[in-house]
Structures are given as structure tokens and as C-alpha cells.
């Protein structure tokens, strides 16, 4: 029977089935400081060991400062969480890239960068954006803290099989249109609950044309569409990206691995429970205007008018969002002025994202009304490469701040945050109320659009630059 990519990945990891749930074997377990302390504590209380230490890779990312780290972390609660991770990893013998390690970075950036994420793997992490790793033809889930403990102890996750959704994007993307715009356009089309209960496979010529960075951006946002997992079939782009990375297979193992990885695609005629199709050529640069990623429109659009919405529930939602966002109905998106710009996060902090933003910023300057424009590379290695290419100089000359790697203002667990009422063009993934700081107003965009907004002081159509 013809199988979907999801079928292949799921079925090949089933250890045992009981009462409609499977015990799924986990190949890679990524760990960060926020969701792991009680899991390690649980292991210790039960005198349990980590089942397979070599499957675990840890890194602190949420609480780390993006400014000078020589004095450590100022906030004692953040510091304690990071120190706890350090101590737990040392005690259990787990590999950790500590805060001052050159390889430190956002967990979803460093996994692929190190080759710790490989095609065909099951990947988990106590973080919803683990869906990112599906870009490699892997089955990647976010899990809760008790599941983190469960996987540490048993190497398995109790999991019911999801339904399969195919999101097919055919055609040629326009100039200046990125994976971020595809992701937001998909969420705009199906809604933030559209993928609930599904694992999404992204396919079609526009997806095959994306780099691995782009595919990661897309799969990263699968969770914003309600799907725990997003994935893309393996092709040459995948294999070329993985080759030569520190944790990637070498020599004859490499050839055997590639032969297997080439089978990681949906078979001809495989049945999906749902199919969504988008025309790549019709996707515009996307900007969110509300407090949910599905509240999104093209750059040529306007802030919606709740009076025109007939569904009372939706109308109320729009009204509340506009009030929180401080926006008037029918305001053209291009007339929305911003206070801050954040280029970073597990969605858009990889080298390709920084190159694209730098290309827009080059030779220009951040607008006077923009109080802060910050670039936070996804990892120490991304930062080093960007500096080698002179991107840091481009950004600094243009008036951007160039920071140390981490999650930063995507969720404001460290010192980077919006003040109440501040409006931000952000390359991150969630525009929820208070996400970037209490009372902060987030507009989700691509790196190009964020850089262009920084220079103009308001949103502009990147295609016209």
C-alpha cells in the first residue's frame, strides 16, 4: 500500500502498540533549560538513568543574555535555570553546548547545524517549535515536561498517530517572497487550528525550490497552524545540507544512510486525510495585524473592519485584537509605523535570513522613529559566519544592534522585551498578547520585510525596493 512520508516515519519507530496508542522510539532528544529541570529531578527521585545518553543534546537558549556575557546572567531566576541545566547535563553525562560555547544557540538552529538532526529520525524536545526539524524528512514533535522525563528514562514516547495533511504549494514564488510568507499564507488560509490533529507534509515545486533554511522556517510554523509536526520529503537539497556536519554519518555509513534517506518521501498515490493547495505566484509579502498568526494579510492589504464581519465570534475577536494592537480598522498595512525591529528566533535567524535582511539594510539607515532594531543570530556559528561575510558590519553601519545568539525577544524570557504599547516588526513566530513583553504589539514578517520596515519606519512592500 502506498504510504505517506508520515506513515513511513511513524511506522518505522513503533516499538509496541496498545489501546490505540503506540510506543514510539525516539532517535534524538534535544533539551533546553526551561522545560527540563523537573524532568531531571523526576529521574533523580526515582533513581532512574538516562536510557541512551548519546541521543541527547542540550543547550541553554531561552534565558541567555544577548548582550555581553562575561558577567554571566543578571536575573537570578534565569541564571538558576541555566545553571540547573549545566549541572544536570554534567551529572547525567549529557553533551551540552554551554552559554559561552561557540556552538551555543537556539536549540532548533543548532540541531540541524550540527547534523544532530538527520533525515528519518524521530526528534523530540520540550518545545513546541520542534516541528522545525521535520524539514529534514524527520518526524519531530514538541513534548511536555513529563514526556521529557519519559523519553529520558525510556527512549520512547507514548503517541497516537495523527491524521496526514498535504499542503501543496506549486509554482514560482515572486521576487522577495520567502518561506515565512508561505507559512503565514498557509496559516491565513487554514487558520491556527486548521492543522490540529494532523501532521503536515509540505510539498510541491515551490517547496522543492526552498533551501533547507526556508524549509525549516516553514516547518517551524506548522505548530502555529495547529499541527504538532510539519515535514518535507528528502531530496538533494536535504542531503547536501547534511553532508559533512559534525554529527552526520561518515564514509560507508554515509552511503548507506543516503540510500535509505532517498526513500523518505510519500509514495505515488498515497492517501492524505486532507489536502490544501496554494499557488506560489499568488503569495504576497505577509504581515500580521492581530494577536494570532492567522490574523494576517498581504502588504497591499488593510487592517480589517470588524463591522464587515458577520460572524459575531470572529467580529469580537477582531475588535479585541485591534484594541490590543492599537490599530484602526481599514488602515493600510503600509501606513503602520513601528517602534522596534527584531530579526531572530528559531523561525528566522539562520545565515540565509541574515543575508536577506542585510541585503535590504546595506547602505541604508534605520529610520529615526525606530528606537531599536536588533539582529540576534540563531547560533554562535551563524554569528561567526555572518561576521566572516561582513554582515555584522552592514547591520551596524545601518544602525542595527548585533547581538549574541539566543531566543531573545521572540518570547522575552531574558532582558530583551517590548515596553507596553511598543510596536515591533518581528521575524518570530507568535504575535500573542504579551509574547514579546507585557503590552507589546507584534507584527510577524519575513527578515526582508523586517529590515525594510526598519529602514522605512513603517511596513513597505519589499518587492518595490
Amino acid at each position: 500500500m502506498a504510504k505517506t512520508l508520515y506513515d513511513k516515519l511513524f511506522d518505522s519507530h513503533v516499538v509496541h502498540e496498545e489501546n490505540g496508542a503506540a510506543l514510539l522510539y525516539i532517535d534524538r532528544h534535544l533539551v533546553h533549560e526551561v522545560t527540563s529541570p523537573q524532568a531531571f529531578e523526576g529521574l533523580k527521585l526515582s533513581a532512574r538513568k538516562v536510557w541512551r545518553v548519546s541521543s541527547v543534546l542540550a543547550v541553554p537558549d531561552h534565558n541567555v543574555p544577548t548582550t555581553d556575557r562575561s558577567k554571566g546572567i543578571a536575573d537570578p531566576v534565569s541564571r538558576l535555570q541555566v545553571e540547573t541545566l549545566d549541572n544536570n547535563c554534567a551529572e547525567f553525562g549529557i553533551t551540552e553546548f554551554r552559554m559561552n560555547d561557540a556552538r551555543q544557540g537556539i536549540v532548533h538552529v543548532i540541531g540541524p547545524e550540527q547534523g544532530a538532526t538527520l533525515p528519518g529520525m524521530t526528534v523530540v524536545c520540550g518545545d513546541s517549535h520542534t516541528s522545525t526539524h521535520g524539514a529534514f524528512g524527520a518526524l519531530a514533535h514538541g513534548i511536555g515536561t513529563s514526556e521529557v522525563e519519559h523519553v529520558l528514562a525510556t527512549q520512547c514516547l507514548v503517541q497516537k498517530k495523527s491524521k496526514a495533511m498535504l499542503v501543496k504549494v506549486e509554482g514560482q514564488l515572486g521576487r522577495g517572497i520567502t518561506a515565512k510568507d508561505i507559512a503565514l499564507a498557509v496559516i491565513g488560509k487554514i487558520g491556527t487550528a486548521g492543522g490540529t490533529g494532523y501532521a503536515i507534509e509540505f510539498a510541491g515545486s515551490a517547496i522543492r525550490g526552498l533551501s533547507m533554511e526556508g524549509r525549516m522556517t516553514l516547518c517551524n510554523m506548522a505548530i502555529e497552524a495547529g499541527a504538532r509536526a510539519g515535514m518535507v520529503a528528502v531530496d538533494d537539497t536535504t542531503i547536501n545540507y547534511v553532508k559533512g556536519r559534525p554529527y552526520a554519518p561518515k564514509a560507508e555509513q554515509w552511503d548507506a544512510a543516503v540510500a535509505y534517506w532517498r526513500t523518505l518521501h510519500s509514495d505515488e498515490g498515497a492517501k492524505f486525510d486532507a489536502v490544501v493547495e496554494l499557488d506560489a505566484a499568488a503569495i504576497l509579502p505577509q504581515v500580521t495585524w492581530g494577536t494570532s498568526p492567522e490574523m494576517v494579510t498581504g502588504i497591499d492589504g488593510k487592517v480589517p473592519d470588524p463591522a464587515k464581519e458577520s460572524d459575531p465570534t470572529k467580529r469580537g475577536g477582531i475588535e479585541r485584537a485591534l484594541e490590543y494592537m492599537g490599530l484602526q480598522a481599514n488602515t493600510p498595512i503600509e501606513q503602520i509605523h513601528i517602534d522596534k525591529v527584531f530579526i531572530g528566533s528559531c523561525t528566522n535567524s539562520r545565515i540565509e535570513d541574515l543575508r536577506a535582511a542585510a541585503a535590504i539594510a546595506k547602505g541604508k539607515h534605520v529610520a529615526p522613529n525606530v528606537k531599536l532594531a536588533m539582529v540576534v543570530p540563531g547560533s554562535g556559528l551563524v554569528k561567526a559566519q555572518a561576521e566572516q561575510e561582513g554582515l555584522d558590519k552592514v547591520f551596524k553601519d545601518a544602525g542595527f544592534e548585533w547581538r549574541e545568539p539566543g531566543c531573545s525577544m521572540c518570547l522575552a524570557m531574558n532582558a530583551d522585551r517590548l515596553e507596553p504599547g511598543e510596536r515591533c516588526a518581528s521575524t518570530s513566530n507568535r504575535n500573542f498578547e504579551g509574547r514579546q513583553g507585557q503590552g507589546g504589539r507584534t507584527h510577524l514578517v519575513s527578515p526582508e520585510m523586517a529590515a525594510a520596515a526598519a529602514v522605512a519606519g513603517h511596513f513597505v512592500d519589499v518587492r518595490q525596493l
Binding site: H16, Q38, L45, S46, L80, T154, P249, Q253, A256, Y260
Partner: protein
């Protein structure tokens, strides 16, 4: 999770009804990144005369000599004798964590709040429901007899006193099985340890690169 089979332990009588989870562990201690270490702050507001905050050296604080847990004759108690509706309030698992960390492995009461009752089983604590009359008799015996120990036998589902009195109690068969064998969710998965190992061996043969250091 530690199995619970039998417990022959010193009992301490907490003679108050409707003891809530905020009383068991006050909210300022929930900021902890740990699941253990709540013991010194169990019943903090009753136990100490000052206001407790995380990070304080509890050994330097003034204890309330009138609170039953502070009385010398009850030091080392493993069984908490309580009144009706014990553990009401929030669903926080910090409450059973605090009791376990203090050293309690069983709580005997006429009734429990539902969520707390469930949380106990998840953490290796046996909540025993006895009739109000039986609990009353136990209270009197414990209060009048220093060093009074109670024997709880989960297999037989009995509570036995030193004078030979025995009370039987009800417990859900599956929960009993899990507690007798120390099985939490992880414990249940580990019942399939042979299957996991067999899968892993096979997986390693077909995709050895997944097992590189």
C-alpha cells in the same frame, strides 16, 4: 516511583478539616525549578512563626512549638492522620511533592479532595480512606500513646493498630497494582523494556549512524 507494599510507621495527627493545597505548600514556593526540596516548607505558615520565602535558611527560622509536626514525639512520622476533605484547592502537584519530600508515604483520612487524591498515586503516596469513626479512634490512640505506630498493608488493604485492631480500605485495582509495583507512566512503559531493547538492537543494525556518539 517508589513501590508501596507495607508501611509500619509513626503517625502524626493533623486535627483540622479542609486542609488545602495552599496550606500544604504556600504559593511563593512554586517558583522552584525542582520537584523535590519542598519538604522544609510543607505547611510553612503553620509550622513557622515568620513569613517564609524561597531561599531562606529554614533551620534559622522560629518554629511554632504548638504545631503538631514540630512536637518531638512526632519527628520521623511517615503517616499523616488527617480529617475530611484533605488536599482541597488547586491541582498543583507541588502538594504531594511537599508531603513526600517531608517524609510522608501515606495519609489516612475520612475523605480527600479528588485531584489531590489522584496526584498522590502518581507520586507514590497512598491515600487511605477510613470511616470517620475509625479515623476518630486512630486520632485518640495516636494522641494518647507516644510512639504509636500504624501498619498499612496495601496488598491486604488493611490498616492495623498495635492493639490488634484492623480496618480494611478500598483501592482501585489498577492503582493498587501500579503502587505495589512502583509503576508510574514511565514504570508502565518500562514493563516493555525487552521490546524497547529489541527494537533498539534492530534499529542499530539497519541505521547504525543513529547511534554514533
Amino acid at each position: 516511583m517508589q513501590p508501596f507494599v507495607t508501611l509500619d510507621g509513626l503517625a502524626v495527627p493533623l486535627d483540622r478539616a479542609n486542609v488545602d493545597t495552599d496550606a500544604i505548600i504556600p504559593k511563593q514556593f512554586l517558583k522552584s525549578i525542582k520537584r523535590s526540596g519542598f519538604g522544609p516548607n510543607a505547611f510553612d505558615e503553620w509550622r513557622y512563626l515568620d513569613h517564609g520565602e524561597p531561599g531562606m535558611d529554614n533551620s534559622q527560622r522560629k518554629v511554632n512549638p504548638d504545631f503538631v509536626l514540630n512536637q518531638p514525639r512526632y519527628q520521623g512520622a511517615e503517616i499523616l492522620l488527617a480529617r475530611e476533605n484533605f488536599g482541597c484547592g488547586s491541582s498543583r502537584e507541588h502538594a504531594p511533592w511537599a508531603l513526600l519530600d517531608y517524609g510522608f508515604r501515606a495519609i489516612v483520612a475520612p475523605s480527600f479532595a479528588d485531584i489531590f487524591f489522584n496526584n498522590c498515586f502518581k507520586n507514590g503516596i497512598l491515600p487511605v480512606v477510613l470511616s470517620a469513626e475509625a479515623v476518630d479512634r486512630l486520632f485518640k490512640a495516636v494522641q494518647t500513646t507516644p510512639g504509636y505506630k500504624i501498619l498499612i498493608d496495601l496488598e491486604k488493604q488493611t490498616v492495623q493498630t498495635p492493639d490488634g485492631q484492623a480496618y480494611s480500605f478500598e483501592v482501585d485495582a489498577f492503582r493498587k497494582h501500579c503502587l505495589l509495583n512502583g509503576l508510574d507512566d514511565i514504570g508502565l512503559t518500562l514493563q516493555h523494556v525487552d521490546k524497547i531493547k529489541a527494537f533498539e538492537t534492530q534499529h542499530k543494525q539497519t541505521q547504525p549512524w543513529l547511534f554514533n556518539q
